[in-house]
Structure formats: C-alpha cells, structure tokens
Amino acid sequence: MKLPPLNALIGGGLIGTLVIVASIGALWTPYDPLRLSFRYKLAPPSPMYWLGTDEFGRDVLSRLMAGAATSVWISILTVTLAVVLGTLIGVFSGYVRGWVDRVIMAFNDALLAFPGILLALGLLAVVGANKYGIILALGIAYTPSVARVVRGTVLSLREKEFISASRVMGNSEAFTMARHILPNCIAPLTVLATSMFGYVLLAESALSFLGLGVPPPAPTWGNMLAGSRPYIGQAVWLGIFPGLCISLTLLGINLLGDAVRDKLDPRMRGTR
C-alpha cells in the first residue's frame, strides 16, 4: 500500500479538522456566540478569550466555531446547486449543438452578464434575506459559469477519437454522454467547483461590505470578515482569524479536490 500523495494528506487533514470544528461548533461553543459583553469590547486574545472579542464584546472563537457550520453548509449547498444545474445545461448544450445550443447559450450569456450583486439583491428581495435566499441567489448566479466551462470542454471532447469510436460502435447518444463525456468534465469541474466554494465564502462578505449585508441570524465567516474591516487598526484579530479560516478551508478543499480528481479521472485509472 502506497502512501497517499501530499495534497491528499494536507487537504484531507485540513478538511477533517474543519468538519470536526464545525460539528463541535454546532453543539457547543466556549461562550454564547450572540451574547454581548460591554465590558470586554474589542479585547485582544487572552487566556479568557483565546481569539479576542469583537466590537460588541462577543467571543471571536465561539463565533468562528458557530460560523463554521453555517458557512460550510451554505457553500456546499450553493456549489452543489450550481454544479448540478450547470453541468446538465452545459453537457446537453455542448453535445446537441445547433440551434438548441444557441438558444440555451443566449439565455446563459444573459444570466452570465448579470453582475452577481444585482442578481443577489433581486433574488434576496423575492426569497427573503435568509440562508436559503443566499444559497439560491448565489447558486443561480454561478450556474452559467459552470454551464459555459462544461460546454467548452464538451465541444473540444466531441472531436476526439474515442467519442467517434463510441458512436461508430453504435452506442446511443445518451450512453456516450454519460459514459465518455461526463467523466471527462470532472477535472475542469473540480477546479471550478473548488474555486466556487471559495467565492461563496467570500461573496457574502463582499455583499456585506458594499452595504447589502445579508447575514443570517447566526455569524458566518463572511460577515465576520466584512464586519472586521473598520477595526483593522485597533483590533486586527477580528479580521485575521475568520480570514485565516477561509484561507485554510479553501486550501484544504483545493488540495483535496486535486487528489479526488486524480482518483476519478478515467485516464488516470491504473497509472498510480
């Protein structure tokens, strides 16, 4: 048995830690993450508050732990929504080509040309500014990018020998699509999905920064990061810790994503 590659080890470690922290955070935190304490406003990290307190005297560590579960859950659902929808549209459109493709792409481009912020504002107003509103808004906003990238991959794959071969062998279109084209989309999709995971964690903080703030009642890393900005001079820990959490999660997801892709990629089977 060979040792797994470095990226799988580090990525797996980071994501494992995240899952454990998020699970603990959902059940228990050192302090109540919503409890205010005016005596300890903007307190630096200390034995009492390991990661300091925020502008309302709330414990940063507790908020990070509680936020982990919310943030991760929002990101996973959003990315899943975008990837599933986008792949269906992209594969279909890229494979059938012709006027169907053109019509789909016209809608896709229209959606893609919408700046995410307007789409988010519009959908949030309709769905309501809560967790599911964010998921739906960002999920729909990211769908067209997935569709476009998948379609691009499908377009270039169509010309390859093994696809023609599959057709010559008399396989149905649907079978060819599922058996040969879809697996080949996994590589670019993994990259896109892992980047998207990061975008989702950050999109919320960008919305918050621009004044759109759509925070769910519980803290999330994104809105903690955005909220920390005015205090960069007095309480740098407010931004560093959520920022670090986002960075490490992203790194973990990316490395793990690479490792998973290597495993799943059909042409890599048996080479390792």
């Binding site: 580090i10 700046p115 504002l121 519009g122 990238v149 010309e159 960075s247």
Partner: protein
C-alpha cells in the same frame, strides 16, 4: 470565419433583449422607490406622488418599458433619476476608467499566472507545485476589500509612495493619473493571479496526460519542447475561455475595488444606482455590461480555433 462572427453577433441580440427585459422587471420587483429615497424620511405621500409623476413612474410598467425601449432603439438610454445626467455619455466615461484597470490587471495576471500554472502542473505534487497552489489559494481567499485596504495602509500610509484618496484622470495628468491607478490594478492583479493560476494548472495537467504528449516524450523530445509545443499551447484554450469569463465578471464585480480606492468607475456607478434605485442608470449599465460581455466572448470564440486547431469555426 466571417459568417461565424456574424452569426455570433446576431445570436447576441436575443441575449441582449433577454437582459433588457429581465433587468427592467427585476429592479421593479425589488422593494424601494427612487422617489421616496430622494425625498427621505421627511417626505409626505403627496410629495412622493408628485415626484413619481414627474419621473413618469406612475405609468403602467408596459408604458414605461415601451418608452424606454423605444428610446433605446434610437440609441438614447435616457437620463439619470438622481443626477439628471444623460446616461450613455456617463456610462462611456465611467467604463473607460474601469476598463483600463481591469484590462491591465488581467493582462499582467495572465502573464504571471499562466506560465506559473504550467510549471506547477509540470512539477505536479512536488514542493514547488504545493507552494504555488498555496500562494494562489491564499491570494484567492483574501477579499479584495481587505487586500486593497492593506495595500492602502502599506503603500499609501506607511511608505507614502502612492496617493491614498482621490482620482486624477490619465487624460488630465498622465503621471499622476497612473499613480492613482497603481493600487487598484495591483489589488485586482493579485486576486486574479489566484484565479488564473489554478485554471492554467488544471488545463495543463489535462493535456500532459494525453496520448500525444506521451508520444512526444517517447519520440525523445526534450521536456521543454514537449511542455511548450504540446502542453502549453493546448492548455491555453480552456484558460482563454476562463479569461473571457473573468473579464465579464470583473466589470460587474470591480465595484468593491472602486469603492476602496475612490475610483469613479462603472462598477461603483452601478452599485450606487442600485442602492438609489436609479432605474434608468441600472438598466443602462446592465445593458452595457451585457453588451461588452457578449462582445468579449464573441472575440474569445473567434480566437478559440487559433489555440485549439481541432475546433473549427462553423
């Protein structure tokens, strides 16, 4: 080739129509009203009704759309509710500012990120690869409003090299104009490196596994030659698509950077208009962004066969 280009442009028209209609409807679905925003908390219902009538907002949606669309066909985007400025010249002047930032940042970022991505893929799973991926991920995960502020505090305050607030157009004073653009470009540049490096790495990895690369290696070509002649050129295709996506998205997403560095660009115009519910400006900006986006992607599609000879332009 020309026929393909024309078809693509013709295809863009329905896209733009879809954008026009959906923006028009969407912004009116969002609660909030430009007249009551302009009058504030002191407004009486009578004064709001007066202003709405003056702005033509009391008419039915169909009539409003008809008027706007009719003017649009004549090339007139109308005037801003808030500032009474004609919208098309406003958008063009703002776009020029945003475009120089975005184009320079993405161009420089691809110069750095694409070769770096190829190298990371070539040395897959090595310490170098891990290092490059880590750097890219970190760059990706710092929000631009944080990164921008850090640069501002460092270059603007600590070192005092660059101006902290304000904006001078390059047309008015080339040297000072450039100084004001350095930090916003640098912010976007660093962020985009993260995005593009990862994409280039992934595309190259794909190609390096293909049979013809193995063949090329078997033929005894040097690694450098394999990398350049086969891997790099083929990996560029998907990356090129992504650059198109990035350019399109950035025009909408640059608002954050423009807010941090007080740059009067298109992104800020749009975000301000959204908050002020300045309907004609939102419609104009959105349509313009969609138009640019479609244009960029037509160009990208036209260039695709150059990078990937197997895809022919229909």
């Amino acid at each position: 080739m020309l026929r393909f280009a024309l078809t693509r442009v013709a295809m863009a028209l329905p896209t733009l129509l879809i954008v026009a209609v959906s923006v028009f409807v969407l912004i009116r679905l969002i609660p909030g009203d430009p007249a009551s925003l302009m009058l504030g908390d002191l407004a009486t219902p009578a004064s709001i009704a007066d202003l709405r009538a003056r702005l033509g907002l009391d008419q039915s949606l169909f009539v409003q759309f008809g008027i706007w669309f009719g003017n649009l066909l004549k090339g007139d985007l109308g005037i801003s509710i808030n500032t009474q400025e004609p919208i098309l010249p406003l958008i063009l002047s703002r776009f020029w500012i945003s475009a120089q930032i975005v184009l320079i940042a993405v161009f420089c970022a691809s110069l750095v990120a694409v070769p770096a991505g190829v190298i990371a893929a070539w040395k897959q799973d090595s310490g170098l690869d891990l290092g490059l991926v880590t750097v890219a991920t970190l760059l990706l995960s710092i929000p631009t409003f944080w990164l921008g502020l850090l640069l501002l505090l460092f270059f603007g305050l600590k070192l005092g090299w660059l101006p902290v607030v304000g904006y001078v157009s390059i047309g008015d004073d080339p040297w000072r104009g450039v100084l004001y653009l350095v930090m916003p470009i640098l912010t976007l540049f660093l962020h985009e490196i993260g995005v593009l490096l990862r994409m280039a790495r992934a595309s190259t990895l794909e190609v390096l596994r293909l049979d013809y690369v193995t063949h090329a290696r078997a033929k005894g070509l040097s690694e450098m030659a394999v990398l350049w002649r086969h891997a790099f050129k083929n990996a560029f295709g998907p990356t090129w698509t992504l650059i198109g996506l990035v350019l399109g998205n950035l025009l909408g997403g640059i608002a954050v950077v423009e807010t941090v560095f007080t740059i009067p660009g298109l992104g800020r115009l749009l975000v301000d208009a959204i908050f002020a519910r300045d309907y004609p400006v939102i419609q104009g900006c959105m349509l313009f962004v969609a138009f640019t986006y479609v244009l960029v992607n037509v160009v990208i599609d036209l260039c695709y066969p150059i990078f990937d000879p197997r895809v022919t332009a229909e």
